[in-house]
Symmetry: C2
Subunit: 85 residues, 2 copies
Amino acid sequence: ADAAAGQAKAAVCAACHGQNGKAQIPTYPNLAGQNEQYLVMALKAYKNKERTGGQAVIMQGQAAALSDTDIANLAAYFSSLPAGG
Amino acid sequence: ADAAAGQAKAAVCAACHGQNGKAQIPTYPNLAGQNEQYLVMALKAYKNKERTGGQAVIMQGQAAALSDTDIANLAAYFSSLPAGG
């Protein structure tokens, strides 16, 4: 996976998840330093509409436009950020 | 919410999410320092079976036994842990 390509793709994520993967909005998760494989699974679950409830509909819409390569790159990028912010 | 009560309830979580909320298994998410309100939403979504796919069935089973108070306490506990580990 290509973390630099993920960073380029992540601009839209920052509105909710923060510029550095630390969410500014308390109902949204921090992504910085999260496990890469978990992030792939979560994005695919949103894309497949396997996650509903809460704010999931927002992520269903975001993930719908992502290819498997995009998802792998985004996961590589966010997992590479320091968890402590 | 009562983070100390959450810590007492969190013993079973450690097998997958780590003693300090840093998952040892890469398909599972770190919980340390995650946003409290997000953790509440996620646990309720699992309890309501609104999250499926991936490993969600495991968390559906775990969350089924949790009261709203348990969920609030667990979220308070894990959000209080340092994200950097």
